[in-house]
Structures are given as structure tokens and as C-alpha cells.
Symmetry: C2
Subunit: 154 residues, 2 copies
């Protein structure tokens, strides 16, 4: 085999590694969250949606639209509409057509939705603790992921 072919092999091998690592790490973290999320009766994307809605309680707009949530999570209505209907079925969220602009649907937390937040902290602490994760390493990874993400979005 000539050198060019060997280089090509190596390039594809590395491509496999990085693409795959990102994809695998994302799924591995989701898997690690599963025991906690099972207790909360949420899927991982539903959990992310709830985190955003909880956060929005403090900082306006406290009744974000589907579009606003979609911008935060980088998800479109094709994903969010059924997901939000499920959160509504669970009694955590209300979906309300705006009177101002009937194209928009506003999202608000029910009392149950707000209450669920209290259960997260203890479960999450136990999760991170059992994995023995170094907080500084997480922060560094976060910075680098942000950089990568910016390349592909900003």
C-alpha cells in the first residue's frame, strides 16, 4: 500500500473516532441520566425542556412560546409539538394559544411542573457523585464543546 492510501486510512480512522466519540459520549451521558429520569418520569429531551422552562420562571419571558423554547434547544416544532403534548399529558405543562397572535403557543408550568423541580437536585447530586466526575474537567469540556458548537452555528 502506498503512503497516500495509508494517510487516507488514518484520516478515516480519526474521523470515525471523533465523530463517533461525540455521538457515543452524548448517548452515554443520556444513558447515565436514565435512572434519575425514570424516577422523574421524563425522557432526556423532556428533561432538557423542563430545565429551560424552570429557568424561564426566574427570567422573563416567563411564558415562552414553542418557538422560543425551540431556539434554546435547537429543536423544531416537528420534535417539540409531540414532546410538549406529552408533558401536558403528564400534567407538567400547559400549552395556550396566544390571544395576541394566534399563531403562537405559550408554555406555562403547572403547580406540578414547578414542584417536580424540587426532586431533581438530590437525584442529580447522587448521579454525579457516583460517577466520580471532576467538576473542573466538566467545565473544561463544556468550554470546548461550546467552541465547537459555535463553529457550526454562529
Amino acid at each position: 500500500m502506498n503512503q497516500a492510501a495509508i494517510d487516507e486510512d488514518e484520516a478515516l480512522r480519526l474521523d470515525r473516532q471523533l465523530c463517533f466519540k461525540l455521538y457515543a459520549a452524548s448517548r452515554a451521558v443520556i444513558r447515565a441520566y436514565k435512572p434519575m429520569l425514570d424516577r422523574l418520569q421524563l425522557t432526556y429531551p423532556q428533561y432538557l425542556a423542563m430545565l429551560v422552562l424552570w429557568e424561564w420562571q426566574q427570567t422573563p419571558p416567563s411564558q415562552p412560546t414553542v418557538k422560543a423554547l425551540g431556539e434554546r434547544l435547537m429543536l423544531d416544532s416537528g420534535t417539540l409539538t409531540p414532546l410538549l403534548k406529552r408533558l401536558e399529558q403528564l400534567g407538567l405543562v400547559l400549552r395556550q394559544r396566544s390571544r395576541d397572535d394566534e399563531r403562537e403557543v405559550h408554555l406555562l408550568l403547572t403547580a406540578e411542573g414547578r414542584a417536580l423541580r424540587e426532586q431533581v437536585g438530590p437525584l442529580r447530586d447522587r448521579l454525579l457523585c457516583t460517577q466520580g466526575i471532576d467538576q473542573e474537567e466538566l467545565a473544561e469540556l463544556h468550554r470546548r464543546l461550546s467552541g465547537l458548537l459555535d463553529r457550526f452555528t454562529g
Copy 2:
């Protein structure tokens, strides 16, 4: 609001950021690969499977089983069986029941499957080039993702 509540807010905010960054970065990279993958007529998981199968041509076993592929990609037969059937439909892969052990299904590349590999290099180079990605940054991210992944699997 008391200090404990503020700390709790902050913890959930960070949780959202890291979980979400990993999940969003993974999807963003998949999205970035889409134009290239459209030309190859492959989805991202199909591409990863092909990368592994191409790699396996050089290093035995050159006819891996579904199980062996699944271990590399961390995917089970519930995901792989339909995915491999689609690669077979595309004429890239053959699935053959083992004669030795009829529970196993061996995977082998067709001539077309091997040929597709030649098209990847140029497309991938253009992709990385247009994103202006620093190779050293990628390598560093790769190391850190490996570390994280090990925590959740090793």
C-alpha cells in the same frame, strides 16, 4: 430568595448547559456532515457503520458479526438490524448467516460498498476545511470526550 435556592438554580443551570452542550454539539456535527452524507446516500449512523466496516477490511476479522459491529458502535441489534438491512438494500453490504453458528450474521462489503470509500476523502476534506476547524483543538476535544466516555462505560 435564600442562598440555598440560588445555589440550586445555579446547579440546574450548569446541568442544563453541559448536558445540553454535549447533546447539541453531537447533533450540530451530524447536521454539518449532512451535505456530504446526502451525496453518499447515507445517514450518519450508517456512515459510522461503514467507517467501521471499511476499517475492518485491513484488520481481521474482515467479516465481523452484527454483535462485533454493535460493540464498536455501542448499538444493539434493535438499532443495527434495520440499519444493516437498509445498507443491504443500497447494495453496500451483505448479511450472511454463519454456517458455523447459525445465530451469528456476518457482514461483508460488496464491491460497491468498498468503492464508496473512495468518495469520502475529498468530501470530508472540503467539509472540515470550510468549517475552519483547528486539528489540535479537535484532538484535545477527542481526548476529553474519551475520558468522559470511559467514566460512563469502563
